[in-house]
Symmetry: C2
Subunit: 469 residues, 2 copies
């Protein structure tokens, strides 16, 4: 897919002008058309050029979201929901202009139901804010996509991250959503019961819909007890295949690993340089177990046996927080170590996900591809899910590099699809993966389009994302 596919769409100039006037009147200082602010609401960590909204509303409650959506609905003006802007595939761009509804001020915890292990939050709260709030309750929200994203945004993009292998993704951890739909009506998708078979799963339909079906105004989330004990460690392997086989055996044995991260040799090299470590420059697995003292010790030992059987070097692990964090520091530094590999370059992150039996093969072929394309691009994978990220370091002012990047991303996606994988395990489709989604699911896109048209007949909700209409 070429950048030229990401078009600026037709603008409804008269509708936009009217909406801007009405929103200015209604929201006063909490509505802005200043360029710096609009630019900040369309930034992206991809190579996709920014497409600015015409105005930004800072909504402070669900009623205000509803009012703003209603104005946009009345005048057929695009609505682009905005949380923290940490999404990666152009989700917050406004190809046809319109209004960015910023919910970052809606960042309150509305209720913690400790006995039920759930809570109700506003969409703008970030995962760190939520976990800080929860600390004294002995509970935590487990999904960790890396960035300190807003929960509304995490739900909208079906985010996951390092510990999805144990706790699932946003798909599994949202009980219910309040959503303002394209017609301005507010719905609640489910009651607070932990399971339900009451009708179509609107919660799951909204999770991952990337703002194209409505604006999330509240979330009921599942929480977990903070584990009594955590063990964690790192183990180098002679080959990618050996590391991947250790992952497969770990999962097959039902070892309840909380995190199992694969870091390729180039990434280890970057980490060694950045974090002043001397890990062997070969693929490493970073693992973490959550449970009782005895449980996490047993699990780490069992993992050590698996690793040894598959040729892993010493598996060094600890249950002591300080040592454990030190061992994992390298993994946490991955992003910055990566950026340091090529100072001044932009790290463009892309992700695919394949059945874990194909993970080693997919990464190995991708490493060859990267070398042949002359790119610098370390790889980190959420190996337990078969999901991996390539961070391509490019000079994004150089069109030749952008073209090489685009071609690489295309080959990466085609490779994943050929292995029965998906074009995105956790970043979402946005603008960047639309063409690959069509290749991935073919005729199923007609069903997606039908759903989109049914729930948003005027195509005002985050248009130009996920499916072409």
């Amino acid at each position: 897919m070429a950048l030229s596919d990401i078009k600026t769409a037709e603008r409804n100039e008269s509708g936009i002008a009217l909406a801007l006037d009405i929103l200015k009147q209604r929201f006063g200082e909490r509505f802005s058309t200043g360029e710096a602010l609009r630019r900040q609401h369309a930034h992206s960590t991809t190579y996709i050029p920014a497409q600015l909204p015409d105005g930004v509303v800072f909504a402070e409650d669900a009623d205000e979201v509803q009012q703003a959506v209603q104005v946009c609905a009345d005048h057929k003006v695009p609505v682009v929901p905005f949380g923290t802007g940490t999404s990666l595939e152009g989700h917050i761009n406004a190809p046809a202009g319109g209004i960015s509804i910023d919910v970052s001020r809606m960042n309150q915890v509305l209720k913690v139901n400790a006995e039920d292990l759930d809570c109700v939050v506003q969409p703008g709260i970030t995962r760190k804010q939520l976990n800080d709030y929860l600390r004294d309750t002995g509970l935590f929200f487990p999904i960790d996509p890396g960035a300190d994203a807003s929960l509304g945004g995490m739900a909208a993009t079906r985010a996951s991250g390092t510990n999805a292998v144990r706790y699932g993704t946003m798909r599994d951890n949202v009980i219910s959503l309040d959503v303002v739909m394209a017609n301005g009506r507010k719905i609640t998708t489910a009651k607070r019961a932990r399971k339900s078979s009451a009708g179509y799963d609107l919660t799951r339909l909204m999770v991952g819909s990337e703002g194209t079906l409505g604006v999330i105004t509240a979330l009921t989330l599942r929480l977990q007890g903070i584990p009594q004990a955590i063990s964690g460690g790192v183990c180098p392997f002679p080959t990618l295949e050996a590391a991947a086989n250790a992952v497969i055996m770990t999962i097959q044995m039902g070892l309840p690993v909380a995190r199992i991260e694969l870091v390729n040799a180039l990434q280890v090299q970057a980490i060694n340089a950045y974090s002043k470590l001397d890990l062997p420059v070969s693929p490493c697995l970073f693992v973490e177990f959550h449970g009782t003292e005895a449980g996490v010790k047993e699990q780490a030992e069992t993992f050590g046996e698996i690793a040894a059987e598959l040729g892993g070097s010493d598996f060094i692990w600890s249950t002591r927080e300080e040592e454990r964090l030190k061992l994992w520091q390298a993994r946490h530094d991955a992003y910055w170590s990566c950026v340091a590999l090529r100072p001044g370059a932009k790290a463009v992150a892309t992700d695919v996900c394949v059945p874990i039996s194909r993970l080693a093969e997919c990464i190995a072929e991708t490493e060859v591809d990267i070398a042949e394309a002359g790119l610098i691009a370390p790889i980190v994978g959420h190996a337990g899910d078969g999901n991996f990220h390539v961070s391509v370091l490019v000079d994004d002012t150089n069109p030749r590099e952008i073209e090489a990047l685009e071609k690489f991303v295309e080959r990466l996606n085609m490779r994943a699809l050929a292995m029965d994988g998906t074009c995105t395990g956790e970043h979402g489709v946005g603008q960047g993966k639309m063409a690959f989604l069509e290749l991935e699911l073919g005729g199923a896109l007609d069903a997606m389009r039908a759903v989109k048209r049914a729930l948003d007949p005027d195509n005002i909700m985050n248009p130009g994302k996920i499916v072409r209409l």
Copy 2:
């Protein structure tokens, strides 16, 4: 809701006549209009009267399902998908007549991907058939709704059962579906990767859609490793509240309980009589842990401590299969012991699900209600999910008893909704819960209706279920 709400809908007589002719020609002996067979395809374990389809097609592959749906689509004739007919809320009734597509002959395992812990199956295979097939692989499919249901039906009704507290429901264990849509086109909802954020979650939209959006023709399912060890046991509690608090504490501590079943005093009495046991006649918890030898021992011991703290009598447990099965026999006999409480009566099973903090209160109020209504109705709950079943023993030839039953079911549902619960945790909506679904989700029903109309504009897919159009 009264029985009179379950109406026989308007029939498209000319379309049905044409479809019957064409299907007879195309399917020969595998198409039947015999009344006995049609009756068998509309039976129900509820008090809802049978509404027979006009004909039954036995499809042998996805192409045949597609052909049959296409004939029905061409002539605007209802399609009612049929697996084993073990659903409970009138899902297989044909209120406007039409064609029952029986997929029970499509019962093959198409592929086991042991390294990926998944398999691909046809929709007519039952869970016992699947687990028999898998035995030698060391893997199993964990969802156990009690009945030996077909996997297609289990996906369609979003089934769960005793071990959902550990392994999730069908929502969590279906990776991808092949579906023949109302327009006769076949789609695949997802690739085989374990997670994906590629577009709208069509898989979850189909899971729980009860045949109203399409006919499932293949399923890719997540599998689990057969646990190394299982411990299980039973513990009587002085009160429902004490038992429910033990459940809450178990879950809050993150104890990975695989099953935690609450059986009320009347049900214990029934079990004692039927299974010749002498359990104390008070609420009991049946629990089971899956893991390593050391793990399940530790977990059972921890549970014993929790139980003791909350006034539970002796928690008797074992890791030895024979003893464990003996301890659990009582729970497995629940259904038959229940039927034996009132010989000749029909056991009408209904379910609701509430946040677990409200479970004790909801069951206690329901016990009072049952007593006041003069009904005989034991209660068994999947307590870890807040889901419980009431099996009402009625003489279904007696209109007064049916009326009392209906009024009781209405009060039960209203009670669950008032406690932020759902009108069905696992049985589905079908015909029986349509009125309660409207009360439960209000305006969200408009979104469900919009989705239904978009994907099935002529309302041919299992009409008269889930939502009123």
